[in-house]
């Protein structure tokens, strides 16, 4: 059977990213619809094989050493994999690798590309992509009819569990002939200490409802359990309970995480200005009339002092 869908694992070192499984889950459905196999391209040879049971074929990109990254090197590797497998659809995420390679590979292979995709389907001869435009203010339905189509998918669009099935994929080794004029030098882990709340995928945010700095520990524990930074409304910063870089809002940072979990924040306009674009806002506030519920997707009026420990418990804190 021919390979019809190729998923790129954006693993540079360590585990496969969550997005890879999301794509594998969706990819296997698409592959079925297209009547072909699902392949996953993986950098290097030293990767956790057993986790990739969702795919039928693993394409090992030899020469793409783990632990360092350069776009042209990866581009050459993935291009070789595409050339070797001739899939109908190539799936990547809108992470750094996907943003790097989507456009250039589509151009190289003369295929069509859809970016910021949140859903995919097969419609006769065409691949139908639903994509976000204008920061999610619009959705576009795009039909791709090239013989090879590319999609870069927003992480979180598909359930990852669908891609975690067990299986025993074949392993094929892809040799990269091309010599890209680039050197992958190093991977630098973030310095611990200075927080950048704007870069976090999720924030636990706390407002004056917390009462005093002593109680801050409670939410800190939850944030630690979730491995995400703590952010806050201005009164918390003003009181000196948290340093300034943690402030969200008009006079603080504008954040746009996938999840914004707020506790004891009323939702003053100055605060909303900083976080209303978060993908999902979950608000906890004992006042059912608090304006934060206007922008939140989910809300609860349970007391934060009851809720937070329960949540911490659920995330192994």
């Amino acid at each position: 059977m021919a390979i019809s869908v190729l998923v790129l694992s954006e693993r540079i070192a360590g585990e496969h990213p969550e997005a890879t499984f999301e794509l594998l889950g969706k990819g296997s459905k698409l592959a079925k619809q297209l009547g072909g196999e699902l392949a996953v391209a993986v950098a290097g040879t030293d990767y956790p094989v057993q986790e990739l049971g969702g795919a039928d074929v693993i394409l090992e990109l030899a020469g793409l050493e783990a632990g360092a990254y350069a776009a042209p090197i990866w581009e050459a590797g993935v291009a070789a994999a595409i050339a070797a497998s001739s899939p109908r659809v190539v799936l990547m995420s809108t992470g750094t690798v996907g943003l790097d390679l989507g456009g250039s590979l589509a151009t190289r292979f003369g295929g069509q590309l859809a970016s910021y995709v949140i859903d995919l389907d097969v419609d006769g001869e065409e691949i139908l992509a639903t994509a976000q435009l204008y920061g999610g203010k619009m959705l576009a339905e795009v039909a791709l009819d090239s013989f090879i189509c590319f999609a870069t998918v927003i992480p979180g669009s598909f359930p990852a569990d669908d891609g975690r099935s067990t299986g025993s994929p074949r392993v094929e080794r892809i040799e990269v002939g091309e010599k890209p004029k680039a050197v992958a030098m190093a991977i630098r882990e973030p310095e611990t200490g200075g927080v950048d709340i704007t870069a976090a995928p999720m924030l636990v945010s706390v407002g004056r409802g917390i009462g005093s700095s002593d109680n801050l520990e409670l939410v800190q524990e939850l944030a630690d359990a979730l491995k995400v930074p703590l952010s806050a409304s201005r009164p918390v910063i003003d009181s000196g309970w948290l340093p300034k870089p943690h402030q969200v809002g008009k006079s603080g940072k504008k954040v746009k995480p996938s999840i914004y979990l707020s506790f004891g924040i009323s939702g003053a306009p100055e605060h909303l200005e900083g976080m209303r674009n978060a993908e999902m806002i979950i608000a906890c506030n004992t006042d059912p009339g608090a304006p934060i519920f206007e922008v939140a997707h989910f809300g609860t009026t349970v007391d934060l002092f009851d809720l937070v420990p329960e949540l911490t418990e659920r995330f192994g804190g």
Binding site: Q247, P269, P291
Partner: protein, 720 residues
């Protein structure tokens, strides 16, 4: 007494040598004095003269008489004569100064008369006719002594009062601690010493003057006509009672006379080189200061964005630096300084003066600051805005005008601060939050970054129509300003005002999406280009509309529309909504039921100090039957909320206590439940401050129109 000679000798020792020495000394003193003054005036003359520049300027046709009209010279003279700018706050200090002021003027007059008689008339007549004429005799002499003894006494009393205050008072104004502490420290001990020298010098002249009078009368054996010299007589008697006989009095007189004359001459020579300079510069500055200057900011220098070099300062500004007496009043009232920001208007002026003095090599004696490591005004290089005056310092100003209002010598700090800010803006050096606000204003016409088309969205959900002034003629064009249009909390108040106006039958309309930020604060931030752009768009919008006058919800907009837009062609009367509401009450258009609340009222800077609207909001409060308890700082002395001059767009987390919180605590001490405001920015600032101060339970911030609408009979406006 044969040939009663009701006069006296002039010199200590009547020798020819003494005369020669005295004249030489006096000549040297005068030369030094005039050279000292000349060398400062020469520097003023280097200053930039903007187009249409005049030292003294009559009100132009654009001046709205009450706030920007320039008092005539006679009015300024009256202010100076009564020391009114000094007495307006600290009465006792002002009185003491008034005594010194008039005492010295008297003594100066006395000396001048004497000099006219003796040095000029006497010497001239002797040379011409060989005979020495003098009018310093007879009844004139007696009256002269009686009057000028009084002057001396008053001057001494005043000086002693001021000296005691200087020595023993712990008032914060007298503390020379800087608001911005330079790295490496600083010392102002020279300034402190300079104050003492000034004071002790004055006292020395006064006291020796009286003593020699007493000694002279004693030495002359108390001729009875000298009783007219009542104070000298008393002192002479005192000497006599201590056993000082005529002979020893005469010799004591001879040398004490030299002490007196020497110190007086020294003081005159010292004057243009020291703190004493203010004796001349301060009244001059009061005459040339201009209330329009702060309300209608001057343009940047030709061809430059803002102040960068010495030559950018106007002669008036340079004179103002020399006029500052370091009284510390502005330092004390400044909300930025109070909140712990590195700005003190006093230090600002002193730093600029020191920098100018240093640049022009005209240092003042005992009136400068020292720093172990050169920085600020002492740094050799670096930009004026940024090094001489730190960026943070410049950005701290709320342009609240409290400093200008209180300054006894008419220093205008704010226009100069803005001129320096302009060069920061030109270099793009500002808070990121300010930058994004300016960007929003330049792209969307509002600081909220909302689409210009959303400006009238607050009208949605109102069941009354809001007329479009571009489509139908209206009496009042309602200019809302950004906060009243976009802030979620404030649009509710805007709706209330709309309902009130509607039910009172006022003909009004708005500009819908054509309204732009009026630009008052943009201009005060120092973004002159953007200000002009905003004026142009608003003027275009005004041209599209048909209206008689403008009413605005925003005091900041009021200021620029009323005082600055006329220069761009606006010729309509501009009112604040409190004035419109008060008008409805006066003209009996509405009937209000008393609410019976205890409230206090906060005067917005741009409404009160800037535009002198104090009574209209109070009338509205009164008419709604509320008991108004005034905060200690009210009317011209109101304390800024901290939002003005673009501060609302900047980070304020570095402040120790935000001015709004300070203000709320002041109100809380009155025990009122309602804090009434008449400015949308105030509403935002104080709602927040009430929470920070933990007073949500006991105090509520309300807008005057909320009170008004609640008290309005026959209209159900007040649901939510």
């Amino acid at each position: 007494m044969l040939a009663v000679l009701e006069t006296r000798t002039i010199f200590g020792g009547e020798t020819e040598a003494a005369r020669v020495i005295f004249y030489l000394l006096a000549l040297a003193t005068l030369l030094l004095f005039f050279w000292g003054i000349y060398r400062r005036i020469r520097v003023y003359r280097v200053g930039r003269r903007p187009a249409g520049w005049r030292w003294l300027r009559r009100a132009t046709k654009y001046d709205i008489p009450d706030v920007t009209a320039r008092p005539g010279v006679s009015k300024s003279a009256a202010v100076i004569a009564a020391n009114r700018s000094i007495t307006k706050v600290k009465k006792p200090v002002g009185l003491a100064h008034l005594l010194v002021f008039w005492g010295f003027i008297g003594l100066f007059l006395a000396t001048s008369i004497l000099s006219l008689d003796y040095d000029i008339l006497g010497n001239a007549s002797r040379i011409v006719t060989g005979h020495t004429y003098s009018f310093f005799r007879g009844p004139f002499y007696l009256g002269y002594n009686a009057v000028f003894d009084l002057a001396g006494l008053l001057a001494i009393i005043g000086s002693v009062m001021l000296a005691l205050r200087r020595w023993f008072s712990r008032e914060p104004q007298l503390d020379y601690t800087r608001a911005e502490i330079p790295e490496g420290g600083y010392s102002r001990s020279k300034i402190v010493l300079g104050d003492q020298v000034f004071m002790v010098g004055l006292l020395l002249i006064l006291v020796t003057g009286l003593l020699i009078q007493g000694l002279r009368i004693d030495g002359e054996g108390f001729p009875s006509f000298e009783r007219w010299t009542w104070l000298g007589w008393l002192i002479g008697k005192m000497f006599a009672s201590f056993g000082v006989g005529a002979a020893s009095a005469r010799s004591a007189h001879a040398w004490l006379w030299w002490v007196h004359v020497g110190s007086a001459l020294a003081f005159i020579a010292y004057l243009p080189f020291s703190k004493a300079l203010h004796i001349l510069s301060a009244p001059t500055n009061l005459v040339v200061s201009d209330p329009a200057n702060i309300r209608r900011l001057p343009a940047p220098p030709e061809g430059a964005a803002g102040y960068a070099t010495f030559a950018d300062f106007t002669p008036k500004e340079l004179l103002a630096f020399d006029s500052c007496t370091k009284c510390g009043r502005c330092h004390y009232v400044c909300p930025a300084r109070t909140a712990g920001a590195p700005l003190s208007p006093r230090d600002f002026i002193l730093d600029l003066r020191q920098w100018s003095d240093r640049n022009n090599q005209i240092p003042l004696f005992l009136d400068s600051e020292d720093r172990p490591t050169p920085s600020g005004p002492l740094a050799g290089n670096g930009p004026l805005a940024g090094t001489v005056i730190k960026e943070r310092t410049l950005w701290s100003c709320t342009t609240c005008m409290a400093c200008v209002e209180i300054c006894p010598v008419g220093v205008e700090h704010v226009p100069t601060i803005v001129q320096l800010r302009r060069s920061l803006v030109d270099r793009g050096e500002m808070d990121p939050t300010l930058q994004s606000a300016l960007q929003n204003i330049s792209t969307q016409g509002n600081s909220f970054g909302k689409s210009a088309r959303m400006r009238a969205r607050w009208t949605k959900g109102l069941d009354i129509p809001i007329p479009d002034a571009r489509k139908e003629p209206v009496e009042y064009l309602w200019f809302l300003g950004d906060f009243a249009s976009f802030d979620e909390r404030l649009v509710e108040i805007s709706r209330t005002l709309a309902k009130v106006l509607n039910s009172a039958g006022v003909s009004f309309g708005i500009l819908y999406e054509d309204e732009r930020n009026a630009g008052n604060d943009v201009r005060r931030v120092g973004e002159e280009g953007l200000f002009e752009m905003l004026v142009e768009s608003n003027m275009r919008a005004f041209e599209k509309a048909d209206f008689t006058r403008i009413v605005t919800t925003d005091p900041h907009s009021l200021n620029t529309l009323r005082n600055e837009y006329p220069a761009f062609g606006l010729d309509k009367e501009v009112l604040h909504y409190s004035e419109l509401l008060a008008g409805l009450v006066y003209r009996g258009k509405v009937e209000l039921k008393p609410l019976g609340r205890r409230v206090t009222y906060h005067d917005p800077c741009y409404l009160g100090r800037y535009n002198r609207v104090f009574d209209a909001p109070r009338a509205v409060i009164g008419a709604s039957g509320c008991e108004l308890l005034e905060m200690p700082r009210n009317r011209t002395n109101s304390f800024c909320c901290g939002a003005g001059g673009g501060r609302i767009w900047m980070d304020d987390s570095f402040l120790e206590e935000r001015p709004s919180v300070n203000r709320i605590r002041e109100a809380a001490s009155l025990g009122v439940e309602y804090f009434v405001v008449a400015c949308p920015k105030d509403y935002a600032m104080f709602s927040d401050a009430v929470k920070t101060a933990g007073l949500e339970e006991s105090m509520k911030v309300v807008d005057i129109v909320e009170l008004f609408s609640e008290a309005l009979i026959g209209a159900d406006l007040v649901e939510a």
